[in-house]
């Protein structure tokens, strides 16, 4: 039996759905959430000798359940089974929900936070608690643990190669990506849980590390609120969920601890704070960023098979900095059947024909960089009457401009890489076959619902900073400004978006801050 096979049977893995009565647990530290922030934090603290309880809303699912079928996997691994949207329905939100969080379903792209972004936080957002150089050893530690390395051009699937070659043909900078995989079998299934444990997600790395060091993981348990008494969090209260991590079982868990770390990610961490009425300065939930995404579909004469091979292995940040205008960067997207059906525009016969030609399609996306300009303030997390989070993120004009710009550049690079036709995913789509057709993009409707917009990156909503008026946690240790045993360690502390895929930024910052917390908590 291997280490991972034993995890499922470990007494440290507590399935909330199976609790026969209410649970009362206590530890030195309670970590809410088990994704990129929570798993790293739990492992570092447990290895430092602290007792740790991780509380996770989703279920524990391992490779034996990663059947490569959206029908079976999406309800287990995604928030709202992949149907989460922004309040005006204008953006689809892909966000994980399971032990391991979004790292179980992300597409493995790994970037350190760009140094200029960290510098920007210091200059404009009062982040004085660390410098880029402080993060470097923590990136290195996580890169080693997760096998993060740059892939070869030769390993790119055709979908990524078209993006890479198209950018080169246009004279734009593009690069092979770094991925957190070891012995990748190129199944292409990253987004549905790696079926061969090649992806070094939190599920197969830091969660087992934490449990080996004695941490307990309570899953299928949704933290409703924190109880605050005399300026300290005393306990976290959770609703225990059924075997599908959907409905309440009627039982609850109370977790008492000396310290609490919120690691539910952007959207969910602010929701816990709001439900707990911890929002004195009204900064909780604001400035939530998404890297809003549009797609471009290219049709080729030869097979592309966008469902085969690593989903992401090339990117271009050539237009990431556009001065006063919102920046964009380009990546590829894999084709899972239901996801593809949702992305491809239209209905009826037109949609069916498009779907049937997916084998000769490349799917490329442009991610817009939010939060760097006054014209790009991000969204606001609110609570629905049921207590569930709702993200209000009306797409501002500056992003519609960036979408239009990016749609043209994507069409240009796709045509330059040999596409016989390029389609936007407008309703109805705009078809381009020659470079001069790209001007048609200016004639399209650029407004909510006229073109599908997505997000797979959630950041912000509980910003770090040393000005207690404009942030939620301080930057030296991510401790809450007024509640001194409460920390936020996840992507929600970023004061802006990142301009790169977020997972490694969260790993590095969490590793730094968990080490700082361990020093304090042991003292």
């Amino acid at each position: 039996m291997s280490k991972l096979s034993l995890l499922r049977a470990s007494p440290n893995l507590i399935d909330g759905s199976k609790a026969a009565s209410d649970l009362e647990l206590s530890a030195d530290v309670c970590v809410v959430g088990s994704g990129a922030g929570g798993a790293v934090t739990a492992a570092v603290l447990a290895q430092a000798g602290l007792s740790v309880i991780v509380v996770e809303e989703g279920g524990y699912h391992d490779a034996s359940e990663f059947t490569m079928r959206e029908l079976e996997v999406m309800p287990k691994l995604y928030q709202e089974a992949g149907q989460r949207t922004t309040a005006d329905l204008g953006m689809s939100i892909l966000q994980g929900r399971a032990v391991g969080g979004t790292t179980v379903v992300n597409w493995t792209t790994s970037f350190r936070t760009p140094e200029d972004v960290v510098d920007r936080w210091a200059k404009k957002h009062h982040v004085g608690g660390f410098k880029y150089a402080d993060l470097v050893p923590h990136y290195e530690a996580m890169e080693a643990r997760l096998g993060i390395h740059q892939v070869s051009v030769e390993s790119m699937n055709a979908n990524n190669r078209k993006l890479f070659e198209g950018c080169k043909a246009m004279g734009w900078h593009a690069e092979p990506l770094r991925r957190n995989v070891v012995a990748c079998a190129q199944t292409g299934q990253c987004g549905l849980g790696c079926p061969v444990n090649a992806k070094r997600s939190m599920l197969v790395t830091m969660i087992p590390d934490a449990m080996d060091a004695g941490a307990r993981v309570l899953h299928r348990a949704r933290v409703d609120k924190l109880e605050v008494q005399a300026g300290q969090v005393k306990a976290a209260y959770a609703t225990l969920l059924d075997a599908e991590a959907r409905g309440a079982t009627g039982r609850r868990a109370k977790i008492s601890a000396r310290r609490f770390v919120l690691s539910g990610g952007a959207i969910n961490t602010p929701a816990v704070l709001l439900r707990s009425a911890i929002n004195e300065n009204k900064r909780v939930g604001v400035r939530t960023f998404l890297h809003p995404v549009i797609a471009s579909v290219a049709e080729y004469d030869e097979p592309i098979d966008p469902y085969a091979g690593a989903p992401q292995s090339a990117a271009s940040h050539h237009f990431a900095n556009r001065g006063d205008q919102v920046g964009v960067f380009f990546e590829a997207a894999p084709s899972y059947p239901a996801l593809t059906a949702a992305v491809l525009p239209g209905f009826g016969e037109a949609h069916r024909k498009l779907f049937e030609s997916v084998g000769r399609m490349a799917l490329h996306v442009a991610l817009t960089v939010d939060g760097f300009h006054d014209s790009s303030p991000g969204g606001v997390v609110k609570l629905r009457p049921s207590g569930a989070p709702l993200l209000d993120y009306p797409i501002p004009p500056a992003h519609w401009e960036a979408f239009r710009f990016a749609q043209k550049r994507l069409a240009e690079l796709q045509l330059a890489s040999g596409a016989k036709a390029v389609l936007t995913i407008h309703e109805p789509p705009c078809k381009m076959t020659r470079a001069k057709d790209v001007e048609l993009i200016d004639t399209l409707r650029w407004e909510t619902g006229a073109v599908a917009v997505f997000t797979a990156h959630q950041m912000g909503g509980a910003a770090m900073g040393d000005d207690a008026e404009t942030s939620v946690v301080r930057s030296e240790d991510l401790r809450h400004h007024s509640i001194h045993n409460l920390y936020v360690i996840d992507g929600s502390v970023f004061p802006t978006s990142l301009g790169v895929n977020p997972q490694e930024s969260i790993y590095g910052l969490a590793h730094l801050m968990a080490n700082r917390l361990a020093t304090v908590a042991k003292g």
Partner: protein
């Protein structure tokens, strides 16, 4: 503003939605399919309307609109209760003859229109000047398409290749090794 209040404020105010949700008694929703199991989120009326939408949206031979609507109903159980209520309200609005009369000049509910007329209604929502109708069209379209194409049985006729199955053992000491990958018929690491 949550999604429900958005729906109410977004169009012509609460009155239309109220009537739309109830429908015009003169022209009740036409039932064309039979639910084969208990509904979880969709109302019986929403189920019928969504099946009718699925018949137009999923243009695949032998599509079973009831199966699509049931699969959509399953997936909707994952939404927060407010969003579930919104979907039923949206479907009611789509079906209603009153909304259709005001905005499209049609007298009959969606389920009582012919196929071409139904496609026209979908196109009217798609091309609408109202954001609510455009996003509503997207929600209904995606509900049906995702419900259909998530079914592995749909892939063969769409020329979508099923992924190579993995057959265990799920043992991390063996998974990912060249021998294991070879036994699974997978490509090894490059």
């Amino acid at each position: 503003m949550n999604r429900r209040t958005f729906l109410r404020r977004g169009l012509l105010g609460g009155a239309v939605l109220l009537l739309g949700g109830g429908g015009l008694a003169l022209y009740p929703t036409r039932d064309t399919v039979v639910a084969t199991r208990a509904l979880q989120v969709l109302t019986p009326r929403s189920f019928q309307v969504l099946a009718a939408i699925a018949r137009r949206v999923v243009a695949v031979p032998d599509v079973d609109p009831a199966a699509v609507a049931h699969a959509a109903d399953d997936s909707l159980t994952r939404l927060p209760p407010e969003a579930q209520a919104d979907v039923n309200a949206l479907i009611g609005l789509f079906e209603t003859a009153l909304g259709g009369l005001v905005l499209d000049g049609r007298l009959r509910p969606f389920t009582r229109l012919g196929p071409d007329e139904q496609d026209h209604v979908l196109a009217r929502w798609r091309d609408s000047g109202l954001a609510l109708r455009r996003t509503g069209y997207q929600v209904l379209r995606k509900l049906c398409l995702v419900a259909h194409y998530a079914q592995p049985a749909s892939w063969a006729s769409a020329h979508y290749p099923a992924p190579t199955p993995i057959s265990g053992p799920y043992d991390d000491s063996k998974m990912g090794t060249p021998e294991w990958n070879l036994a699974q018929g997978l490509e090894g690491p490059p």
